[in-house]
């Protein structure tokens, strides 16, 4: 077992442990929220998902810049992993938010600026993934999907600040100062736990993209690196 492999799994298991303990605190120990009651416990999974789900697109944007200025290769594989997991997290965030909205707002969905901009963000990341399937040339696919990722990321600040810019249905930023101790601890454990688990799965998805890339190139008739060396 290589040290990188071991560290990756230790991080994933640590994340799972932190998340399990945070979930126990959020579901069984923390008191019901003052206004929402037990429904407020959805926030212990929704807030970490939303914050990690908005942070990962920022990481994807940085990787996209790296893919453009450096030799695409592994940067492009990392980009594929980061974009795909970002899409998953945004979808999870929308599912959690919609389920929370039903008992509190009375509807599963409203075209509120926060919800609308989040849906556009998910659609734009699905667009990046779709773009990757349409372009056959690996180098062009890498550069186009990097540019598309940067464009898609431009929506993240709009999602984040939408509750401040347009004061509508979705509540404004919630500070942690008014939280009961157990509530704050549950949020912290779930946030770090989810962040570690996401790091684990992005790493694995990026490695999968890297392992399958040469085969895809070969299928397209592109010369393998070893052929280039043999041919001088």
């Amino acid at each position: 077992m290589s040290s990188r492999f071991a560290i990756e799994h230790i991080a994933g298991l640590l994340g799972l442990g932190l998340f399990a303990y945070g979930s126990y605190l959020g579901l069984a120990v923390a008191p019901p929220e003052r206004f929402m009651g037990d429904v407020g416990r959805i926030f212990y999974v929704h807030v970490p998902t939303a914050t990690v789900g908005l942070l990962l697109p920022a990481v994807a944007c940085l990787i996209a810049v790296g893919s453009l200025v450096r030799d695409a290769g592994k940067w492009d594989a990392a980009l594929e992993g980061a974009v795909e997991v970002s899409t998953l997290l945004i979808a999870m965030m929308l599912v959690q938010g919609s389920i929370w909205a039903k008992p509190t707002w009375g509807v599963y969905w409203d075209w509120d600026p926060r919800l609308t901009s989040s849906a556009i963000l998910m659609a734009s990341f699905i667009g990046v993934l779709a773009l990757r399937t349409f372009i056959e040339d690996p180098m062009r696919r890498a550069s186009w999907s990097a540019v598309a990722t940067i464009i898609a990321f431009a929506n993240v600040p709009i999602v984040y600040f939408s509750v401040r810019w347009w004061r509508t249905l979705h509540q404004d930023f919630t500070g942690g100062r008014d939280l009961e101790d157990t509530m704050g601890t549950a949020f912290a454990f779930n946030w770090f736990g989810l962040a570690l688990m996401v790091t684990w799965v992005v790493t694995r998805r990026a490695r999968l993209a890297w392992l399958t890339r040469p085969r895809a190139m070969a299928a397209e008739g592109a010369p393998a690196a070893s052929d280039l060396v043999a041919g001088g």
Partner: protein, 42 residues
């Protein structure tokens, strides 16, 4: 009904269960695909 939260734990379990099932399923599928790719490389 203004100000009244309708429903209780069923929404909590639905939100946690659905979203974490999505994440868990993705992790499992990615791990299986990765293992298969690694086996094909060796």
């Amino acid at each position: 009904m203004d100000g009244v939260i309708v429903g209780d734990w069923e929404y909590v379990w639905a939100a946690w269960g659905l979203s974490l099932s999505m994440f868990g399923a993705y992790c499992i599928v990615t791990s299986v695909r990765l293992k298969k790719a690694q086996e094909e490389r060796t």
